[in-house]
Symmetry: C2
């Protein structure tokens, strides 16, 4: 990790203005952190000293269970906060946050700013909306994971991530994200190929019967 200074710092602060997120002027106190691909922004169990705001790049939230299984809880993208749980709750058990690409974050030190942030309407309103999205999203994932077999959840994931009808996510990542074994994921992908829904092309899969995949994924929707 590198803390950017001077010109580089100024560049990012100008390119991604955040004044609208706060009622007060915080620019002076914002650090700009740059992480290489694969670096950990937060190590599991080690609470950070900063509230981060991701401006460029992508990251993943991981938690490790006692039985050795690892869950990929969610992806983090531009304009997402990191460390907001630790801001709100001292003693919170921090999840691990790992970048997937080179990533730039704004970092606001808790030390001087926690109280001011927690008393700022603009910030809190924005944060509340983000937290409610997060809670809703996790609730949906939870109930869907219990109500539907992998077939449906994978179909949904394929549609969400396919680029131009070509699905090419890493199997290992997908296992952690959907919470199934590598073996089973491959098994269901093979089934999709057998049924003619997908066609394997090297390490990627071409969607060959989109409506069939959409029907499986559609089962997750309610209402």
């Amino acid at each position: 990790m590198k803390i950017l200074q001077k010109k580089k710092r100024a560049h990012y602060l100008q390119a991604y203005p955040v004044a609208h997120l706060f009622s007060f002027d915080i620019e002076e106190s914002i650090q700009v952190h740059e992480y290489d691909r694969g670096e950990w922004i937060i190590k599991e169990g080690q609470p950070p000293d900063y509230l981060f705001y991701l401006i460029e790049g992508k990251a993943k939230i991981y938690i490790t269970h006692q039985n050795g299984k690892v869950s990929l809880l969610n992806f983090i993208n531009e304009a997402d906060y990191i460390g907001e749980m630790e801001l709100l709750h001292e003693g919170y058990y921090s999840k691990g946050i790992q970048t997937t690409t080179k990533t730039i974050c704004f970092a606001i030190p808790f030390r001087n700013w926690r109280e001011k942030l927690l008393a700022d309407v603009k910030f809190l309103r924005h944060l509340s909306i983000q937290l409610s999205d997060k809670a809703t999203h996790m609730s949906m994932k939870y109930s869907q994971s219990l109500a539907f077999p992998l077939e449906n959840r994978l179909a949904d994931f394929i549609l969400q991530t396919a680029d131009n009808d070509l699905y090419k996510e890493k199997h290992v990542t997908v296992c952690d994200f959907l919470g199934v074994s590598y073996r089973h994921l491959l098994h269901v992908l093979a089934q999709f190929c057998d049924k003619g829904f997908l066609k394997k092309e090297g390490h990627a899969y071409k969607i060959s019967d989109k409506s069939a995949i959409e029907e499986l994924a559609g089962m997750l929707r309610n209402g």
Copy 2:
């Protein structure tokens, strides 16, 4: 549902003061709603017109999936908000909220108060903490449900709900909550009895080997 008036209304407003939750005086606008056991405070898919604050009683959050399965997402207790998702997001798909006991809620109409609430520091701070708890809680449930078999999750649930080492929750509710079939739940309970962890007493179960149950439940903890 009954909207309480005059003496009854005044009684609850006095018994459960909420002035500390808001920066402005909202008492005049608060309605006091009384629900019988089993009534729906919010029907699934039908967004409410009020932000509720539960002051007496208990309720459950349900969602129904297309395949007919029903998930009990969580329990709602005293001092929890209801309808806060709808406050933050117009167009949110409302989950069903059903009372388990006679329940009293304060009800604040969105119509006149949405904007004021969303501009109030005290309210937003309190709400943010509640939402972050909710998000964290759902994340944990989600990842645990994928990482551990029912054995461990049930052990945890038994410890959380047992009263004086006696577990007597309704099986049907527990199935919806833990997301497993009735058949399987009974199967694992029977296993616990076989192993001497529980002893069946009528329709309840006495914890006869607490440390065994605690060990199973302890697997869920991380860190």
